[in-house]
Symmetry: D2
Subunit: 314 residues, 4 copies
């Protein structure tokens, strides 16, 4: 039986030993375990916030193996197979299968100018290469510069190619459209699982009928996201919205690094990693090059925001 990817499924950050980057598997295992102890329902390795775009095949295999071992028998692990085009993605698929991934997450091709029919070919070939693993489409226009059309996604769902979608498009109306279309076509959440990647509108997504959330910020505060999930599942909408707003306070850590000094990836991942270092989970805040490291003042400000948020450890 296919593992279920519903509920809180954090995209696990990748800790590094140096800036080669060398993966810090010990810290990674510790963080995966911490997330599971917080009650998350699954783990997503090799997502965008795992710095997958900076990792070679050896890094990637190591990460899947490490997290799968920690998760064994507790929660399922799905793996990103992010790369520019189908042939390269297929190599990552083979590696992921070999390393025990229980699901796959793939974007549309990028770098090349692409077309819906080419995106359809792409997902079909990925599915054909690992038909036994649930395949999630990853809608992330900020990175791949195309949006996965709702009709196309649901056609691929009916065809059996896609088992779900992780939507990081930032448009909750699009997400609701997907859910409504799924329901119209008579597919269940088990047949096609819809996850939001938005840390700040989880309540909206659940109100619309989403099945779970993949929150980068869940690396820092998994307990709150699990609690948010439970409030939402219990229909305590206003209490959930209050908790969501409390979480949003913590989300300010992604904007302490400012655009005059660095890009959004440096600020965002830097904020997450500095918070995890402050919490004693990560030994350092290293990011892969060419990320700009946060400076001392920024790191202190992040520590202040984290303290103010009173993040609860599992």
């Amino acid at each position: 039986m296919a593992p279920l990817f519903q509920g809180v499924i954090p995209p696990v950050l990748t800790p590094f030993l140096d800036s080669t980057p060398t993966v810090d598997t010990q810290t990674l295992a510790h963080q995966a375990d911490r997330l599971i102890r917080a009650g998350v329902h699954g783990l997503f390795v090799l997502g965008s916030s795992a710095e997958t775009a900076f990792l070679n095949a050896a890094n990637r295999r190591q990460i899947i193996r490490t997290v799968r071992e920690v998760a064994e028998g507790r929660v399922p692990v799905t793996a990103g197979v992010i790369d520019m085009t189908t042939p390269l993605v297929l190599e990552h698929v083979a590696d992921a299968v070999e390393c025990g991934a229980q699901g796959l997450v793939a974007t549309a091709p990028f770098y090349v100018r692409t077309h819906p029919m080419e995106i359809i070919n792409h997902f079909r070939m990925i599915h054909d290469a690992a038909p036994e693993l649930p395949l999630f489409a990853y809608n992330i226009p900020v990175s791949v510069h195309s949006i996965l059309g709702a009709e196309m996604v649901m056609d691929l769902a009916e065809e059996g190619v896609l088992a779900g979608i992780k939507d990081s498009g930032g448009n909750d109306g699009y997400l609701r459209g997907l859910i409504n279309l799924r329901n119209q076509r008579g597919l269940s959440a088990e047949q096609f699982t819809i996850l939001t990647g938005s840390e700040t509108t989880v309540d909206f997504a659940y109100l619309a009928g989403a099945d779970g959330v993949v929150p980068g910020l869940g690396n820092v505060d998994p307990v709150s996201y699990v609690q948010l999930h439970e409030l939402l599942r219990a229909g305590k909408w206003e209490e959930a919205a209050d908790l969501q707003n409390k979480i949003i306070e913590l989300f300010r850590i992604v904007a302490v690094g400012t655009p005059d000094r660095m890009g959004g990836s440096s600020a965002g991942l830097g904020g997450f990693k500095a918070a995890l270092q402050h919490l004693g989970v990560f030994p350092n805040g290293l990011m892969a090059p060419p990320h700009i490291p946060l400076n001392d003042a920024e790191i202190q400000e992040i520590a202040r925001v984290v303290d103010e948020a009173k993040v609860r450890e599992p």
Copy 2:
């Protein structure tokens, strides 16, 4: 002494034996030789039109080695090291050096949201990894979704990091701005070489002072591009513009595949490869997946345009 990358430097297309893709090294060698016999001044392997975004490290190494061997003692060979981020690019750099590339061409990072300071770090690290090879920045906003600022580029030139730029931004005013800035800073064409990637405005670029052109269409009709270069170098501007317009007629092959059926990459590369097949240079028109192949009617139309253009073989 560093090799000179000036004049006509076609981005060599990659022929395939199958859609894995497996590189057809024999045809590749034949095409490299054909281009050299046509009088081109250098070869650029592993550019965007080489389908580099579809090629793994083994493919890439094979291509550099094949073309370097053919070119030996005749024209210099520069190699693209296209990938999402610095760590992955650095692996390609090591491979390129080992395989004998005589120059490197790198884009800004992509997929991740980036920042000028991060782009600067990126180029510095690439240069540090292969200080003996001239490093060209590759301005290709359609693929990487950022534009290389002229001031930043020239700062890196003065710093000794960049040896030149290949501009595929499609804005000839930007190219002229780069050239004027280079001249203001007292750098020579040998110190910083400026190449246009635009097939259809080579005369504009040379009138502005560009040092050469990297024309994808030069794979199909290298003789005309060499002749265009010579007319332009001789200051025969109007004759050159007439030849440029004749070449533009041939360029229609990239638009025979239409947007209702396929993306720009399928149409463009498909057009080039169908033309090369029609000319007897390539045994087939195979592109890497998930490209959409041209259909028979489209292939016939391309043959018609090629015949009409009376492409001269070297």
Copy 3:
């Protein structure tokens, strides 16, 4: 005391007698009355869906006067003052004041390349010209191609320039950010009113704390929007979400006209006007030129969707 613009405030469509366009004031009065009888809490004339961008000063004055007269003593009426730049907007402001508008709605300048400081100047000058009227900023990037920054908006609120915002940006996370920022700054909903312009995510907006909605589709089915408002105010979130989804079924009328034949404005307004004609509210579906009229098949399909939705007349 300033009128309150909270709750359901439809952007009143403009019916035409011909395609000059000549405003059909009789139908306009009838529609305004129909909306008020449905229980809406205010009316917004001269919004984007009123085809304000197609109307001259005389048309605009006529519309404000007509609707104000109908609304008198029942609901407040706010008026758009949409134009390219400050001097032209200020002329519309003077007209709106003279014609009895009880609030103003202004976008950022457009056509010209603009800057936050210029946008601030713009809103300040509008407020200075009519300090007695509450001024709403209109965030509509699809039309003006800039986004109103949340910090800037709240600074103008604290300064007393802005009394609220109508957000048609389509990003519910942005809307929530505005609301949270307002609350952090200690402003009440009366001091700064936040309205969503999204027809399909009203429940999300209210869950986040929005004060009302400006739904174009409210022209067709005002009763449902009033009911949706009441469910949301009563905290019946799931019942509200169900009604919201029912409304979304009706919203399909904006996509019956397809992109191969017409633009989004022709399809959307054409859908609304055809629905109103089918309901017997409008005598025709005329839009200002150069809109493309819907054809018979499209009009029939819209009638079918409207019938299926069982729109309740007030």
Copy 4:
């Protein structure tokens, strides 16, 4: 016989007496006369750089009348009819005809989401309203956010709707494509006139076969643009490119105002107007609100650049 709009046709800036804005007709007449004495071949009033987006109907009429009177018997005058949509543009057309405009320049509709078929309708209705005046399409994507397709433009040319195009799209390859398409369809420059709006690549445009240029910077240095035109017509391409580069030095005045303080319109028009004030042509540098005025340091820097350029008065 229709007036010819070929050669150098500056878009005449609008001087103001105050920031209402009130048009300074005396200075306007003086500047129009100065341009004509410099040898320009036509005048274009109410273009983007005339701040037309800030001007009401009375301002616009005054400007056409003033310039027509000065130009009488010397050069033809064409007038912009810039507004959001067809009905408003048609009012400007009627005014322009009445005030003696000898040509019209219209953009695609903006603010509303539009479609090629709607743009076609738009141009047809403008032509029908003033069939005796040559109608120029104004391609200015930075303002209207759509590009006029080359095939569509040439279809409207063959239909007799369009008499020419002013291209401010910044892509010289697009311009060349238009020219080649015109030639393929057997239309002469008199039947369809192609003008570039790019100040910095006039030589490219003429080499491609363009018929003239509409340079905002021509307000400051009309003598150089006339000389550039003559060199280009005489086939002195390299001498022309040298002069073009000299003109580009002067063009730095549009970038003295920096993006941290103001938008591109404030910097660009502010630069032009400060230069004209320094040259004694304009009594002040006033721009319509909400433009940000240049500060003293910026004005001094502009004066320095102007002095360095040794602008020759007619």
